[in-house]
């Protein structure tokens, strides 16, 4: 019942705040990784290099689906921005269904940019089905396809270090975010601007993907405060022997 209440409250807040945010401009705090990402998008177009967006190996049928969907939302925006480049972006995934959705998302980005004829289906790839197989395939892209930035958003474990190492060897900019704690620790040690925790889900809002993305950040903040108050309330109640 609590879960249903949380979901209903989230839907209500998302709806109300989306309507509200249409009228008032968003005020987002600066996250250096997104500033770098925004700059990288423009630079890659100018210097004729491509971006490699790695969506991780999160299956849409399990708990990692959220991070996979966040990665796809970001891919959609990047595809639209870079579709007219000489070297269009490449997306890699470690889950077949996610790979298919990556292709569809890339195509949607090209459609939105009005250049659907430039879309190549092999721009969305499944590079491997096991964690290390996926990382090895993604490393190959980073090393051999004139990539200027590796953007990793999705579910990554310790194998992220291999991809980070390959990027570092090629002097490729690396921006990484994972929903996995081990993956986050590895990316923190390996990247200049690591994204921690829920920052993974903020990419769309920072890249200007739409008002619903900004609204969902506000909803997350409200829910987080509710969780904090509940935890503090529980601790106080326990202290006074009410629980």
């Amino acid at each position: 019942m609590i879960e249903l209440i949380i979901i209903a409250l989230s839907i209500f807040l998302l709806f109300i705040i989306t309507l509200w945010k249409r009228r008032s401009p968003a005020n987002l705090r600066e996250i250096s990784a997104f500033t770098r990402l925004y700059r990288t998008l423009g630079l890659s177009m100018e210097d004729g290099t491509r971006l490699h967006i790695s969506l991780g190996r999160g299956s849409l049928l399990d708990a990692h689906g959220g991070s996979a969907l966040a990665g796809l939302a970001m891919l959609r925006h990047i595809a639209e921005r870079t579709s007219v480049s000489d070297q269009p972006s490449v997306a890699s995934a470690g889950d077949p269904a996610l790979g298919l959705l990556a292709q569809d998302t890339l195509q949607a980005g090209y459609q939105a940019a009005g250049v659907e004829e430039l879309y190549v289906p092999t721009a969305g790839r499944v590079t491997g089905l096991s964690p290390f197989g996926f990382a090895a395939g993604a490393m190959h892209i980073a090393q051999n396809e004139n990539v200027s930035a590796n953007i990793m958003v999705g579910h990554f474990g310790s194998e992220a270090a291999l991809l980070a190492e390959a990027s570092d060897r090629e002097s490729v900019i690396m921006i990484g975010a994972s929903d996995d704690l081990i993956g986050q620790a590895v990316l923190f040690a390996n990247t200049q601007d690591a994204l921690i925790g829920e920052e993974l889900f903020a990419a769309g809002a920072y890249l200007g993907a739409g008002v619903s993305h900004i609204a969902s950040l506000t909803v997350q903040d409200i829910l987080r405060w509710l969780v904090i108050l509940t935890l503090l309330g529980g601790a106080v109640a326990k202290f006074f022997g009410q629980i």
Binding site: E3, I6, I7, S10, L14, S59, L60, A63, G65, G66, S67, L69, A70, L72, A73, R76, D95, P96, A97, G99, L100, L101, Q103, D104, Q107, A108, Q111, A112, T122, G124, R125, V126, T127, G128, L129, S130, F132, H140, E145, E159, A161, L162, A164, E165, D179, L181, V186, A189, Q192, G197, E198, L200, F201, S212, S216, L217, Q220, L223, R224, V227
Partner: protein, 206 residues
């Protein structure tokens, strides 16, 4: 077409969500939920085959264009097709297939795991060169303390280090990890809701 796919996706999402929470009130929703999830599992299986063909198509294309590193692509395609064919003919539990698994695939993955260990150590050494801030110092010092508190030291145990390490992993790290996971869960919830109501549509075009 875009509206049609969105309607199907939103309806399927609402029915599955309803199946979780309202099955006591509407028992039929549980059956619909099971049916839709079974379809999703079957489609995920079919997607695996499509993914394999995508892999073959990408790498044959690289070989055809003689791109940089195409020798590895050729090797990958040959090994993949051979493993697929022999796996289908001999079946996965055949002794030859087991030899391929235990003699090639597992050692290669283990080797990558070994490389990963060195990569992580190297990343830790370079961390301060890459980003010399307070968080990096805390990260490194914590990592070193945890390592020293969990390994057997050759000279002698440092008094209190084991207790400190346990306190750090079971109180500080666990609390922090839970905080991060709650943030991730809230992010996944709002992302899922955006997809559920069609604000984000990672399917069927725009």
């Amino acid at each position: 077409m875009r509206v049609f796919t969105a309607v199907i996706a939103i309806a399927a999402g609402i029915l599955i969500l309803g199946g979780y929470f309202l099955q006591n009130i509407f028992p039929a929703l549980a059956d619909v939920q099971t049916l839709l999830l079974n379809w999703a599992i079957i489609m995920a299986g079919a997607a695996t085959l499509v993914g394999i063909f995508n892999l073959i198509s990408v790498h044959t294309d690289k070989v055809r264009r003689r791109e940089q590193g195409s020798i590895y692509s050729a090797l990958l395609v040959i090994c993949l097709v051979a493993a697929l064919l022999f796996g289908m003919i001999l079946r996965p539990d055949h002794s030859a297939m087991k030899v391929v698994m235990s003699g090639i695939i597992i050692p290669v993955e283990a080797a990558l795991m070994g490389i990963l260990t060195i990569s992580l150590l190297y990343a830790a050494i370079r961390l301060l060169r890459r980003r010399a801030d307070v968080m990096s110092f805390i990260f490194l010092i914590t990592a070193v303390l945890i390592i020293f508190s969990s390994v057997t030291l050759p000279f002698a145990n440092i008094p209190g280090l084991n207790t400190f390490g346990r306190w750090m992993t079971q109180i500080l790290a666990l609390g922090g990890a839970r905080g991060i996971l709650i943030g991730v869960a809230l992010g996944a919830l709002t992302t899922g809701l955006r997809v559920l109501f069609g604000a984000d549509r990672p399917y069927g075009g725009n």
